[in-house]
């Protein structure tokens, strides 16, 4: 798939999503679900970028999200930074942490990288709850309950009025997606692929492994942290309970459904997963069971996710097709 086609698909997807409030605008719940779909689509896309394209098993995505959320909340609560600015600062904080995490990961391989990044996830909750955390204003175990909403040009985006907020999220998601597409299509994307395929040769051809690995960590954690901050201002509350296993698994399922390294897949995966999760709500305690079974079946039946399936049905070639795909 070339860049133009990818952008076209994204335009169609987001264009359709933009029309949804016409049908569902009356329901806060559905609007909320749509907003969360958009937010998770950004997180899942970032994860796909680092894991699917750059081939780095980063398991710290939820952690960066939460770091961003807390950072933005703390900036706006403690220092009075306007939320619209603090989300960017939050992105920067998450990016800084991302780079710090990336440094030890540069020398590590596969499952080790997964562990080190997951360690950030594991340690984050105890840290936020600890006295150190309280000292920087995380609210300890209780969390933060009074995060101010985002204001832009004198308009305040309240979560009680989801439609304006929905469009704000849509704009953010579109910008993030464009950045991700551009990265994938640009020489960055090529660099990730070459480093994944053969690091030695890539370096010998002048690709700086250090630079691109750090950049991908920085970029994905920046976007994730920023959208995390955005989330905090949307919901207005934060607690460490997002660091449970549930959210992590749900994000993973988004990637499975969309297909690893099948870029717009992650976005579709986010929409599918959130929708399925909500549709399964009536079955209560059977929901995770069914989700688990679905992951099993999907991985076995469609190892390249929905997008992989679409590709092989329509026989589309392109870079993504070969980033995943059947081995020789």
């Amino acid at each position: 798939m070339d860049g133009k086609r990818r952008i076209l698909i994204m335009a169609v997807v987001f264009g359709l999503v933009a029309l949804l409030p016409i049908f569902f605008g009356g329901s806060k719940v559905i609007m909320h679900i749509l907003i969360m779909c958009l937010i998770w689509s950004v997180v899942a896309s970032c994860w796909d970028l680092i894991m699917g394209f750059a081939g780095i098993f980063s398991f710290g995505q939820v952690a960066f999200f939460v770091i961003g959320a807390y950072a933005s909340a703390i900036f706006s609560l403690r220092l009075g930074v306007p939320p619209i600015i603090s989300t960017f600062l939050a992105g920067a904080v998450a990016a800084a942490v991302g780079v710090l995490v990336a440094l030890p990961c540069l020398r590590l391989k596969g499952a080790y990288v997964a562990l080190v990044t997951f360690a950030v996830h594991m340690i984050l909750a105890p840290f936020l709850k600890s006295n150190m955390g309280r000292a920087i204003g995380t609210g300890g175990a209780q969390g933060l309950l009074t995060i101010p909403p985002i204001s832009l040009f004198g308009y305040t985006f309240q979560n009680a009025e989801p439609i304006p907020f929905f469009y704000l999220t849509l704009v953010v998601a579109v910008i993030c997606s464009l950045i991700i597409i551009l990265v994938i299509m640009s020489h960055w994307g090529t660099a990730f692929l070459t480093l994944k395929d053969s690091e030695d040769f890539a370096r010998a051809l002048g690709v700086s492994a250090l630079r691109y690995k750090l950049m991908v960590f920085a970029l994905t954690s920046f976007l994730t942290g920023m959208i995390g901050g955005f989330y905090g201002h949307y919901v207005g509350m934060l607690s460490t309970r997002m660091l449970g296993i549930d959210l992590f698994v749900t994000l993973m399922i988004m990637l499975v459904i969309g297909g690893v390294g099948q870029y717009p897949g992650a976005v579709l995966g986010a929409f599918f997963t959130v929708t399925i999760n909500e549709m399964l709500a009536p079955v209560g305690s059977y929901r995770p069971l069914i989700l688990g079974a679905m992951v099993l079946i999907l991985v076995l039946a469609l190892p390249d996710g929905v997008v992989g399936l679409i590709r092989s049905l329509f026989n589309l070639g392109g870079r993504g097709a070969r980033a995943g795909g059947r081995m020789k």
Binding site: M51, G55, F57, P104, R107, L108, K109, G110, A111, Y112, A114, L115, V116, F118, A119, M122, I123, P126, F127, S130, I245, V249, M252, I253, L255, V256, V260, G261, S285, Y286, P288, L289, L291, G292, A293, M294, V295, L296, L298, V299, L300, P303, D304, G324, G325, R326, M327
Partner: protein, 288 residues
């Protein structure tokens, strides 16, 4: 003597961690499969024991072992053949296996929850009472756990180092294609190691359930601990995992004693990171 208490606590934990970590490292070392459902296999062991014991049949834990070991073996074997092995044909199958086993974990944990309820289940003790030597008191249960896991470990190492099967397992770990060429049934070894690791962690679940109970979501803790220890010792190095398990057990006991339990997790990850910064392949790991 407080220090002795702490050391004993560290030793017993270490022995259990060793059992947990060795299974994980074995599978990773031999087939590069990272099993996210490892913790759920631990719970499976506990629930198996619970179910068998709840029939109040004679023999108690002996019957549990007689029935659970083959059951776990079969379960592990079937899981490998039916859902892990088919993925090997795909590119970046390692990620796919991770995702698959994550799904399996979700499925199993919630199956447990639905079948057995969310509440913890308790099992009878293996041996009653405790041993008192001067000021030091150790329960026989702990001693039994220690003896069983350490002797299990040594038996396992002996098999690995002294039998044809053990040699074959090592061969597959080092070079699956090479192993195939000399006539080792590679795919069977993949499945067999997966099954053996299931038995190990399942046995861990049986041994520890009395002490720590059985509950549907407990496995994650075990997975993370086993993972940390495996990486610390070097993925794929059995000896490394053994050392790492005891070091981590001790570290946990001492940090908990001296600084408080909230610091244990920071300390574990801190030591892990420091080790990996100096030796990216872990204590005894070999690349590849």
């Amino acid at each position: 003597m407080e220090v002795i208490d702490v050391i004993i606590s560290g030793m017993i934990n270490g022995s259990v961690y060793a059992l947990m970590a060795v299974g994980l490292t074995l599978v990773y070392g031999v087939s590069k499969v990272f099993n996210f459902a490892y913790g759920s296999f631990y719970s499976l062991g506990g629930y198996l024991a619970f179910s068998i014991l709840s029939f109040k049949i004679f023999g108690g834990y002996v019957t549990v072992l007689v029935l659970a070991v083959p059951a776990l073996l079969l379960f592990g074997y079937v899981v490998e053949r039916a859902i892990v092995a088919p993925l090997r044909r795909w590119s970046s199958w390692e990620v796919k296996v991770m995702m698959l086993t994550l799904g399996l974990a979700l499925l199993m944990d919630n199956l447990f929850q639905i079948t057995y309820g969310a509440r913890v289940k308790s099992l009878p003790v293996i041996v009653e009472g405790s041993l008192t030597v001067g000021p030091v008191i150790v329960s026989w249960q702990d001693i039994a756990i220690f003896v069983l896991s350490v002797s299990g470990m040594f038996a396992f190492r002996w098999v690995l180092n002294n039998t044809w099967v053990g040699l074959a397992v090592q061969a597959v770990a080092q070079n699956p294609n090479g192993a195939q060429i000399v006539g080792i049934p590679r795919d069977k070894i993949f499945a067999a190691t997966f099954a053996i690791s299931t038995v190990m962690v399942g046995l861990g679940g049986i041994l520890l359930s009395q002490k720590y109970f059985v509950s549907p979501n407990q496995g994650w803790d075990i997975l993370v601990k086993a993972w940390v220890i495996t990486a610390f010792g070097g993925m794929g190095s059995i000896r490394g995992s053994l050392y790492a398990a005891f070091i981590m057990g001790m570290l946990e006991a001492f940090v908990g004693w001296m600084f408080g339990l909230t610091w244990v997790q920071f300390a574990l990850f801190g030591v892990l990171l420091a080790t990996l910064a100096i030796r990216p392949q872990g204590l005894m790991g070999k690349w590849g």
